[in-house]
Symmetry: C2
Subunit: 356 residues, 2 copies
Amino acid sequence: MGVRKPTLRSVAEAAGVSTATVSYAFSRPDRVSAEARTRVLAVAGELGYAGPDAKGRSLRTGRTGAVGVIFTTGLTYAFTDPYVTAMLAGLAEALEPSRTSLMFIPFGEVSAGMAPDQVRRSVDAVHRAMIDGAVADGLDDDHPAVRVLAERGIPLVRSNETAAGPSVVIDDRQAGRDVGRHLAGLGHRDIVALVATPHEPGRVVEVTEQTPLFPYSRLRLTGLRESLPADTRLRVISGGSNSALAGQVAARAVLRGSERPTAIAADSDVLAAAVAGVARERGLWLGAGLSLTGFDDQPVAAELGLTTVRQPVHRKGFLMGRMLVDPDSERGRITLPTELVVRRSTGPAPSVRLGE
Amino acid sequence: MGVRKPTLRSVAEAAGVSTATVSYAFSRPDRVSAEARTRVLAVAGELGYAGPDAKGRSLRTGRTGAVGVIFTTGLTYAFTDPYVTAMLAGLAEALEPSRTSLMFIPFGEVSAGMAPDQVRRSVDAVHRAMIDGAVADGLDDDHPAVRVLAERGIPLVRSNETAAGPSVVIDDRQAGRDVGRHLAGLGHRDIVALVATPHEPGRVVEVTEQTPLFPYSRLRLTGLRESLPADTRLRVISGGSNSALAGQVAARAVLRGSERPTAIAADSDVLAAAVAGVARERGLWLGAGLSLTGFDDQPVAAELGLTTVRQPVHRKGFLMGRMLVDPDSERGRITLPTELVVRRSTGPAPSVRLGE
DNA sequence: TTGTACGCGTTATCAC
DNA sequence: GTGATAACGCGTACAA
C-alpha cells in the first residue's frame, strides 16, 4: 500500500472525473460546474490533496512565478548593505501586485580569481534557478551569469550602464564629474578615491589599470579624472567589498603619515561613514582638515552631514522589477537623475601645503 | 521552421544519440564516454542548447534547489530590520555550501484583519512557490502558511517556541523574566512594555488580551509579568510593526504627560533606539529619569549603551538553514541561550514619585 | 466536460 | 564500461 502523495490524476480517478476537471476545479473555478467542483474538492480533502503541484504546473505553463536576483557579493554582505536593501525594497514593491516571489542567487566573486570549480558551481546555480526573469547590479556583458541567462532565454534587467539590453541606470560618469568639480572648486589637488572592489574586505590595495573594478566605479573614476585639473594628484585605493571594514582599513592606511590627501572621495556612503569614523579618531575635522564625499545619499549621509551624490535607489529597484513583470512598461534603458548634495563634510582645501 | 528553443530530445536527435546520453553528458559526465560527451556538447553548442531545463528537471527529480522564507511583514520592512537581515545572513551561510537558493515569499499580515481575498492570494503564493523547504519566524501552528506547507509536505523550520515541529528557538519567557527581574531589582514599579504588533506602524494601541501578538511577544510578556512584584503597574502598548516609526510614535505617546513610567521595556533594539531618540528630545536621561531596555543586542545597542537581551540571531538563521539542507543535522527543537546585557540605559528608579 | 497530446528531463533496466 | 529503451513525474490546454 504505497502512501505516496496524491496527484491530480489520483484525485480524478477517485472522484470519477477527468484530470481536466480536477485541474479546473482548482485553477479555474468558473470553467466547471459548482456541483462537480464541490465533489472534486471533497474528494481532494479526503485524500489530502493540497492542489496542483507547483513543479508540474510550472513545467506545463513554462512560468515559475519568481524573479531572480543575482548577487556577486555573498548574501551575508548583501543584507548589510543599505544600497542593496533599498534596491530590494523597491524591487519587492514592484513585484508585490503580481505576487511574484523573489529568488536570491549567490554567485561568487568571479573577478577575484575564483577557482574554476567555484565558477562552475555558481554557473550551475544560475542554470538551475527556477525563475522567469532576473535582475542584477554591476554585471558586465561577459559575466558568466549574464551568459547563462542569455542562453536560457531568461530576461535580465541590470542597473549598470555598461549593460547591453534592458537596464535602469544613473549617469555614473557625470556623477563622478560632479564630485570632481566640487572638490576641485574647493581647491583640492591631492585626492584619494576610495572604491569598493570584489574581494573580501580587510586588505588595502592600490588600484591600477589592471585591478578589476565594478563597472560603476570605473565610470565614476573616469568622470572624476576628467573634471580634475591636470596638477591634481589622484590616488585610487580599495579596502575590499563595500563595507564598514573596507572603509576603515583603507582610511587608516591613507590618513596615516605625511602622504595624507586633502580630500577623500568614497564610492558609497557606507565607505564614507567608515572614513568619517577614522577621521574622528585621528582628530581630523571633516570639511576642514579633511574633506570627504560619499555616494548614494543613504540616511547615514544626512546624519553625518556628508556631501554625497543622491541617487534614487529605491526607484531603481522598483523600475527594474516593473520592466520584468509589466509587459507594458518602458523597455530599453532608463536613466535616472543624480544630484550632488553638498553638506558640511567638504570645505576649502588647507591653503598652504608643507613640503611643496 | 520553428525556431523554438532546443530541448534535450532535439539535441539527442541531432547528435544521433539517445536522450539518456545527452542527459548524462550534462549531469553525470562519468557515466558516458569522453568521446560521446564532447560530441554531444558540440552539437548542443551549435544548437544553442544551454543544458537541461530547470523546470523539466525539477519535475522529474522532485527537487527545486531552493528554500523559502515566509515573511509576514512586507519585504520592504523586512529588509530594513536588522534582526531579519542578521537571520538571513546566517541562513544564507548555511545554504551556500549546497548552492541552495533563497526564495522570499511575502505573506500579508493575517492577524491584522486581512481581507479574505488577500489571504487567498497569499496562500496561493505559498502554494505555488517552488521550494524544497521553508523557514519562518513567528508563525503559529494555525497560520495559513503553515497549513499549506504541511499539506504540500514541505519541511518547515520555525524559530518560535510555539511551533510544533522542527525549530530553533530561544527561551523568550525566561528572557522576559530576566528583564523584569532586572527592572524590579532597580525599584521600577511603573513600567511600559513596548511590543511590535502586526500592523502598519504609526498608530499607537494599548495591548489587551484580545490584541493579536507575535508569539515571542506573548511569551516575553508572560515572563515579564511573572517576575514583577504585585504592586507593579504594567502597561503594554504598540506602535505597529517593528520599526523606528513604531517606536517613535509609541514613545511620544508614553513620555508625554504625567502618566510617564519609570522604565520602558522594548521588544527589540530597533524600538528601543527609537525610544532613546524621543527621550533625548524630551530631555530625559537614560538610566536616570528613564530606564530603557531593548532586545536582540544588535550593534546599535552597544552604541547607545542599551541594556538588552542578547540572542544569537545569526546562529539561529544558520541552524535553521542547516536543519533543512543537512540531513545529518540535529532534528527537533534547538534552544539557544540568551543573556541579559546590562549597560547604562537602566538605573535605579527615581526614589520619590510625586503625586502618590 | 472530457479525452489526450504535450511540456522536458531522469533514471532504472536492459543489451551489447 | 557504454549506450539505448522506456517508464515515469504532474498538470494544462486544445479540440472534440
